[in-house]
């Protein structure tokens, strides 16, 4: 078991160490991808946060991500209720349809949208990308929501009915609040799915509607713009902070309430 644990730690290091390399690189004053850098400065970040060519895509991505999240939830929540609570002809087919965007390779869809949106004049438009990302967000949101709905205790709703709440009131006051964590998680997945999506955005978003991943991808391909290091590091630190924040909150809570913690055991 001991050697197994060592092995697991080594594998975890293989996963973690390459990621952390992006942080020192973002402070590199070298124009080339030299590691370790020979000199450090803040310049990459200054460029990243002041250059319209980077800020525009960042805000585009945020806007597209938020719109995608709302649209995905609006479509996936009722569909999940239909899948879990009802039996109807074509239920299996519907389930398959809702999962399909997760299965089809994105390059295939990129081609499809390139052809289709070209005809609809939706290429290089926000609407087009939001539609695409919503399609991609529906499967994962539906998976999360149906799982939560299946474990939802129907007696909660029965109790609300018996206490005099009509169907819609029950939905707003009981069902939705109980499902709120799942809705939030589903929304988060939809947002990140959109915020990260590269392949289709590369093919269908234009210069003005470029997303951050598209800008990064093109920057990788065209020139080795050192600002990319700041963009990468910025995204990585965002994830790191999001993961460490709950941990930090728990740690401070524990140290302040250690007596209560002992009693709870």
């Amino acid at each position: 078991m001991k050697s197994l644990k060592t092995l697991a730690v080594l594998i975890a290091l293989f996963i973690a160490v390459p990621l952390f390399i992006v942080v020192p690189m973002s402070f590199s004053a070298n124009a080339s991808l030299q590691f370790p850098p020979s000199a450090y400065w803040w310049g990459n970040y200054q460029h990243f946060f002041s250059d319209i060519n980077w800020m525009q895509p960042l805000f585009n991505s945020l806007y597209i991500g938020l719109a995608t999240t709302l649209l995905t939830l609006a479509l996936a929540i009722p569909a999940s209720f239909a899948l879990v609570r009802h039996y109807f002809i074509g239920r299996t087919a519907l389930n398959l349809l809702l999962m399909l965007p997760m299965i089809v390779p994105q390059i295939v869809m990129a081609l499809g949208y390139y052809l289709y949106f070209g005809r609809l004049h939706l290429t290089q438009s926000f609407t087009g990308i939001i539609i695409v990302h919503t399609c991609l967000g529906i499967p994962v949101a539906t998976l999360i929501l149906t799982a939560a709905l299946r474990s939802f205790d129907a007696n909660l709703e029965h109790a609300a009915h018996s206490l005099g709440a009509p169907a819609l009131t029950t939905f707003w006051l009981v069902t939705l609040p109980v499902l709120r964590p799942a809705v939030l998680v589903a929304g988060l997945f939809a947002f990140i799915q959109s915020f990260d999506e590269t392949v289709i955005a590369v093919f269908i978003s234009g210069r003005d509607t470029a997303t951050l991943p598209r800008q990064m991808f093109n920057s990788f391909r065209m020139e080795a713009d050192p600002v990319i290091s700041a963009a990468s590091s910025f995204l990585f630190i965002l994830v790191l902070a999001a993961l460490l924040l709950p941990l930090a909150v728990r740690l401070t809570r524990r140290s302040s309430g250690s007596a209560a913690g002992h009693l709870a055991r």
């Binding site: 990621l19 569909a79 209720f81 609570r85 349809l97 081609l111 499809g112 994830v239």
Partner: protein, 300 residues
Amino acid sequence: MNETSSLQGADGVPRPGGTTAAAGLLRALLKGPLPLYLPAALFLLAFFIVPLGYVVVMSLTEPRPGLGNFTALLGSRHFLMVLLQTLQTAALVTVCALLLGYPLAYVAAGPARRLGGVLLGVIALSFWTSFLVRTYAWMVIFGRQGPLSHWLASLGWRPPPSLLFTSTGATVAMTHAMVPFMVMAVYAVMKRIDERYVRAAQSLGAHPLRAFALVYLPLSLPGVVNGCTLVFITTLGFYVMPVLLGSPNQQMISGVIGDQIEQVLDFGAASAMSVILLLVVLALFWLYHRFVGLDRLWSR
């Protein structure tokens, strides 16, 4: 909201106002699940199935109607090599991700809570970090002035090789990117394996290694199947990493399709390749579906 209300709507009790049969049917449909799923279904039909259909139609009609695109591709040594290379790479990445992911998931699902938390934290960190960021990290590592070259040079390898723009480099990066998927799939199943099974096997006389092989391993297999399918299918369609890190001479199928769209502008060939890739993926998914059906027998 529930079945009873939709049944009551459907049972055709005459309502005041003398509704016709058609109006009654409409009403029943509106009370049922239809309004719940119709928006999502129509949205996906219009914005997912139709563009997918465009690809299929294009593959059969551009530039001429018929199976010409497919016969040309299947007769092309180059395309078959690309397809084979893609399948090989996907298989290699799957095996490597399993070899790295299984032990990590095993320890994470085990009794060492704190270590398990740290391991899962690392996996989550990698999982949530954008593919592009991970791609950038590997560009630095594999670069001519990167740490790997430094290290190899210090070992006396001159001039040090660079893995950037080689298929080996792309494979390593893809494996790195796929390990979190594998771990999550395997861990989800491992976490549900009651530790009492292994204890029971030991109390019945099985050496810990044998208890693992006869009890734990078979019980974790559904997770392995899930993880391998997920990783294999994802790698087959991988675009970003092979294009940015891989060798331009040994492209994977997604990269070739991308070139056809952007540079060659041969939409017929691109569509036919896409259809072939799609068929491979769907076939694999169908196989997986049968496996999952079998797994259901084991769960209580």
